[in-house]
């Protein structure tokens, strides 16, 4: 009998787990522990609407306070240690919470630049949580020149917002190109062109040697000696899995808390889901940082905590909004050997389809939500139009979706 369930980490995954436990009719007592004081909130708007000032912090809550009735909320306290022998989590306020099942959804933290190269100077910010977004919004209001380090989603989204606010923006990517890990070259080219048209200076294939300034950032020096003047620096160089507590408790970690295909760690009482979990993804251990993964993996873990054996087999998807471009990605492009471009129905709509041989792996849709939705359906069903059909354009893809199987 599972009497006490503890959820460590109060984000999107936690909400999904609670919802699933309730739906399953669980009568277990649920305790939710989080180190931030806010109720679980949406993160995607932090780099978009929240920065623009279109929404306020209070509206980001995933659920209102009343929704948590029956759940013991321990917010604003840090978990210090997982004591597996005593089956409890020790908290920063000196108390301990006992568990029969423990779900770790401790998320991820922004990777920072070392202080030796200026990573901790004033005016050097990163963006992960609500506090970061509030700080960045304030800093953007008083800044003239922004240097963005890192050409991933966060960096590009912030660059877009900052341009909209009238700042001079330079984005530096150490890898060969922007969106190197997360989108194909064709998609990256489209976004690069748009950012440049909006006035963002993009420098690719060049690392940062240090951030200049005595106490406050004044610029960024690149590996080739170039100096990018800036009074604000946003570091968006990826995230590190929140796996320290698990590791300290003796659980296996590998760039994240290692779980099996059922979201369980090697300790059958302890599960992990969301950004912090490394799980079998297409045959290799992988980690996903996305809303989809937080929701679906936590739902799967919650069922399995109650004794079910549901395998986690996601169709990953992501999205990013930059200017009026909507980028939606379905699947995982790793292993693809060619990209097929598919013209969309509306002006500006295009999608890039990744194939390994004839197998569809992923689709990047730019301002083409219809193709994105279809791609997710194809990937879930394991049946997709042939590359030649996709190359003909959206009508052919639509026709495939409507053809009897």
């Amino acid at each position: 009998m599972v009497a006490d369930i503890v959820i460590l980490g109060a984000g999107q995954a936690a909400v999904s787990a609670i919802e699933t436990l309730r739906k399953a009719g669980s009568t277990a007592a649920i305790t939710l522990i989080g180190d931030e004081t806010a109720l679980p909130y949406q993160r995607p708007p932090l780099s978009k609407a929240m920065l623009k000032g279109e929404v306020e912090a209070a509206t980001l809550s995933l659920r209102p306070q009343a929704w948590y009735e029956g759940v013991t909320l321990r917010l604003g306290v840090r978990a210090e240690r997982i004591d597996r022998a005593a089956a409890c989590v020790q908290l920063s306020d000196g108390t301990a919470v006992r568990f029969d099942r423990l779900l770790l959804c401790t998320g991820s933290q922004a990777r920072r630049l070392p202080s030796g190269i200026g990573g901790t100077l004033a005016g050097v910010l990163s963006l992960r949580g609500l506090g970061d977004a509030v700080a960045l919004r304030g800093a953007l209001a008083g800044a003239r020149r922004l240097a963005v380090i890192g050409g991933g989603y966060v960096g590009l989204e912030v660059a877009a917002v900052a341009r909209g606010l009238g700042l001079e923006v330079t984005l530096v990517e150490a890898g060969a190109r922007i969106l190197n890990r997360v989108a194909c070259a064709e998609t990256a080219a489209l976004l690069r062109a748009r950012h440049r048209a909006e006035g963002v200076r993009i420098i690719e294939g060049c690392g940062v040697s240090r951030i200049l300034g005595e106490t406050r950032a004044q610029g960024v020096e690149l590996d080739d000696g170039t100096v990018v003047p800036a009074d604000l620096v946003l570091v968006g160089i990826g995230a590190v899995a929140g796996d320290a507590l698990a590791a300290a408790a003796g659980l296996a970690t590998r760039n994240g808390i290692l779980v099996d295909g059922f979201c369980a760690t090697e300790d059958p009482r302890i599960f992990a889901a969301g950004d912090c979990a490394t799980f079998p993804l297409g045959g290799v251990p992988g980690r996903l940082e996305s809303v989809q993964n937080a929701i679906d993996q936590a739902a799967c873990a919650a069922q399995n905590m109650l004794g079910a054996s549901v395998a986690y087999a996601p169709v990953p998807w992501f999205w990013s909004d930059q200017y009026d471009l909507k980028l939606q990605i379905a699947g995982i492009g790793t292993g693809a050997d060619r990209i097929v471009t598919c013209a969309g129905k509306r002006a500006g709509a295009v999608s890039h389809w990744y194939y390994a041989g004839d197998r569809l792996c992923a689709v990047d849709a730019v301002s083409d939500p219809a193709m994105h939705m279809l791609a997710r359906r194809f990937l879930a069903a394991g049946s997709a139009p042939a590359p030649d059909a996709v190359a003909e354009g959206w009508q052919a893809v639509m026709a495939f979706s409507k053809a009897p199987a």
């Binding site: 919802e19 949406q42 995607p44 708007p45 978009k48 509206t59 995933l62 659920r63 209102p64 009343a66 929704w67 809303v291 989809q292 929701i295 998807w317 999205w319 909004d321 909507k326 939606q328 129905k345 509306r346 301002s367 083409d368 939500p369 219809a370 939705m373 279809l374 359906r377």
Partner: protein
Amino acid sequence: MPRITWICASGREVEAEVAVGRTLMEAARGLGIEGIHSECGGNLACATCHVVVDPARAAALGSPDAMEDDMLDMVDAGREPTSRLSCQLTVTPAFDGLRLTVPGV
């Protein structure tokens, strides 16, 4: 405040007052309406907040924009003539008495 009714696929009806300025998706999420998942949080990225609006009232709510229109063509439950994504419906006083059907999948 305008009163809104959701009719869930299970037959359960939920009636609630919703503040002007909130979206129907946000309201549904707070009420725990079955079938409204709102995975993307109102960013028009997921189409999991699909509702079918009472046909008599649909015209008064305006028409979906191009992006919403494309998403609606792809909703899992199939599109109805008055299908909408409820994250795109911001409540005004004119919404009072509105009834929404939440399709089951």
